[in-house]
Symmetry: C2
């Protein structure tokens, strides 16, 4: 049985929802041709406060509703598109839509990453599709390639710049020698950072996205709270100077690595060799490098946010759902969370480290430091010592290590901080990928 027309119900008419509504309206001929049936925006569920938005005037008044029962109960809505963001009430809306037998499209990384297993089970149970291509990397093709093109591979690693706000800030800090606060202010002035930037600068946004990518790559449920997370707020101009001097750039990376059935998952700043592909991904651009056992390294890059790129991905998902709805196909997802891979505790992770310390400029201090590293079985690769302040007789010491275990490094930092001759452990940053 074929359907004659596919009805869309959109939740939210903010920046993303508005862009989606316009694309659905303006490209209806193309969508009808590709889906095999007209794709009609039937209802937009809004909050009363949305009625003040200018976009409201662009659509017939009858399309808007604030009534949940009317919206989710509409039998002419085949596909529900959620574009409000955040965990709640989005999660309840997605639940209602799936339980009402609607195909669901979401651009909401927070709700998908936090409730993946429940949403997936509901979609399976109700035999409808659950799609969320726009939730990671905006318009960059990522989730469909992972599910389709790379599906036969064992994924060995993901190394990603997936937060445009922080990448913009880090790029400014590196290129202009400014401090974090100033770069953040510039990002806010340009609309690249929100008034409350916590979600981006503390790495939550990148964690949500890494959780989603990892679930697709490893077929294993990953809760955002189980991903190690550090933001970029403690980075200082001097770290960027040393990075440059040593042939590195600093990027906030989302990293997933699989070995022997264990996956390590972490989001934190990384000293990246300046000839690495990701080192040259600047400004608001995103890039995801993934390694499959058959395909080798594959790179995806583009603008990771913005209403137009995000609408590109949302409406691509709508189209796929519409094609299924038109031919009465239910859940076609290959996504499953029964891979049973174990998460490696962060304390077990092995990587190289960069340390920047402020020390008393006296003989024997380096020996003390080296002793602590040695006690914790951390092998030092190089030491840079610079006098920064003759008045206080203090010097800045930069140490690069060979690969060491995170737990040992944490112990060493604690020991360093207890030394009288160490005035401050300014920063320690993981090196390489």
């Amino acid at each position: 049985m074929k359907k004659n027309s596919i009805g869309i119900g959109l939740i939210g008419v903010g920046v993303i929802g508005g862009a989606v509504a316009r694309v659905l309206r303006d490209r209806s001929a193309k969508l009808a041709e590709l889906a095999g049936a007209p794709v009609v925006l039937r209802k937009i569920k809004i909050a009363p406060i949305d009625l003040t938005r200018p976009i409201i005037k662009e659509f017939p008044a009858g399309i808007f509703t604030t009534d949940e029962a009317e919206f989710f109960g509409d039998p002419d809505i085949d596909i529900v598109v959620e574009a409000i963001g955040g965990e709640f009430p989005a999660f309840h809306y997605l639940e209602k839509a799936l339980m009402a037998g609607k195909h669901v499209v979401s651009s909401n990384k927070e709700v998908v990453s936090k409730h993946a297993a429940e949403l997936l089970a509901l979609a399976r149970k109700n035999n409808v599709g659950l799609r969320f291509e726009a939730s990671v990397g905006g318009g960059i093709p990522l989730l469909e390639p992972f599910q389709y093109d790379l599906s036969v591979n064992e994924i060995k690693g993901i190394f990603a710049i997936i937060n445009g706000t922080t990448n913009y800030i880090l790029t400014r800090m590196a290129q202009e020698g400014i401090e974090f606060a100033e770069a953040l202010k510039q990002a806010q002035a340009l609309g690249y950072a929100e008034a409350n930037p916590k979600n981006d600068i503390e790495g939550h946004d990148a964690v949500y996205k890494l959780a989603i990518l990892s679930m697709l790559a490893f077929d294993t449920e990953v809760k955002p709270e189980n991903i190690y997370r550090e933001g970029i707020t403690t980075l200082e101009g001097r770290d960027f100077q040393y990075a440059k001097e040593l042939g590195f750039v600093i990027k906030l990376l989302a990293i997933a690595k699989e070995s022997d059935g264990q996956i390590e998952l972490r989001v934190h700043p990384v000293f990246l060799p300046d000839d690495n592909f990701l080192a040259n991904v600047d400004g608001v651009f995103n890039a995801v490098l993934t390694t499959g056992d058959l395909v080798g390294d594959v790179i995806f890059s583009g603008q990771g946010a913005g209403p137009a790129p995000t609408s590109s991905a949302v409406v691509a998902d709508v189209l796929a759902a519409a094609q299924d709805a038109a031919s009465c196909v239910g859940n076609r997802m290959r996504w499953r969370l029964d891979g049973g891979k174990k998460l490696m505790p962060m304390s077990e992770v092995v990587t190289r480290y960069y340390f920047r310390l402020n020390v008393t400029d006296k003989p024997g201090v380096l020996a003390h430091i080296a002793g602590i590293f040695g006690d914790n079985k951390i092998s030092i690769a190089s030491v840079l010592q610079k006098e920064v302040d003759e008045a206080t007789e203090s010097a800045e010491v930069v140490i690069m290590t060979h690969p060491a275990k995170e737990s040992a490094v944490q112990q060493a930092v604690e020991a360093l901080r207890s030394l009288d001759t160490i005035k401050a452990v300014h920063n320690f940053i993981r090196v390489g990928i």
Copy 2:
């Protein structure tokens, strides 16, 4: 109605076919789980000569057949995978498979680019899928992202390094200052170039791939013979020296640009600014940069060839076809060729140019050259003049132009060649993208 098991018939057991056969065998559990039914390699159609290949011993003897009627008539084969390459007999095999109601997967850029419209019509008529992800860029996700993720966009441009052989040769010439013949020899020694390298070095392979990408991007039939094509055989070490001096690298690019319903399509060497993303794609790597009106610039990159990456894409297609076959879904392709875009004649293309001339080292020669450029309304951006041979009183002149029309440049070249004072027009290469 659901099928209990999906049968695969593979044509060819060479490098690609062999890799595909092994993946189908070794990952059968994963494929069954993802497809929703066991995916079983039932028959491999070979030529008698294939019986000498070592891989034959890896599979039960009964799986091989040289009998076309037996192979295409087997009712237990749901999906035919063609991995022999070349136009014939591949085209006849694909016709037979589609007419027999089999889903088809091909990794064969030549047959798909030359017979796209016929194959697509046959697939539609017989309500089966036709997939060819591996035909462009090996394992790099490209065709599925174009059909799925980017489907709502109007594609404005494609700029691609899609031939690993030539990119390897150009990388060696640039990095080591060697000439084409030497670089080709090295590529052949490493297995990156075939004994008969014509298909790659003269640009045919890139043309086939650009034709396929363009058909997906612009919904318009593109015949390979209608794409302007130049290979890399006339490039000389001196061109690379000048490129470097002027801040460029030389790459063989496949270019598609859309404007006002016209598309320009061309494959030729390009002087690319050295800070362009594609300028740093070296060796056998491929990269495709595409611009959509919603998504902006998106980049895909990875190894464009090799048995393992190619098998990754072929088996991804097999999996999609198997999923359709298992749920008795027929042709789901959105691909259509009725977009009606016109091809711009090469003579109308406007770009900048690099010229390298050998001239008599006498006063007035530059004035002659400038006069010819002026007569053809080509504006000169810069001139470099170097004495190369005092004995013959000749000098080398390098000219960079502002944007000019191809037809004017061709006329200017003809006029330059007729001048007594011009000993040779060594090369002229288009600049920028």
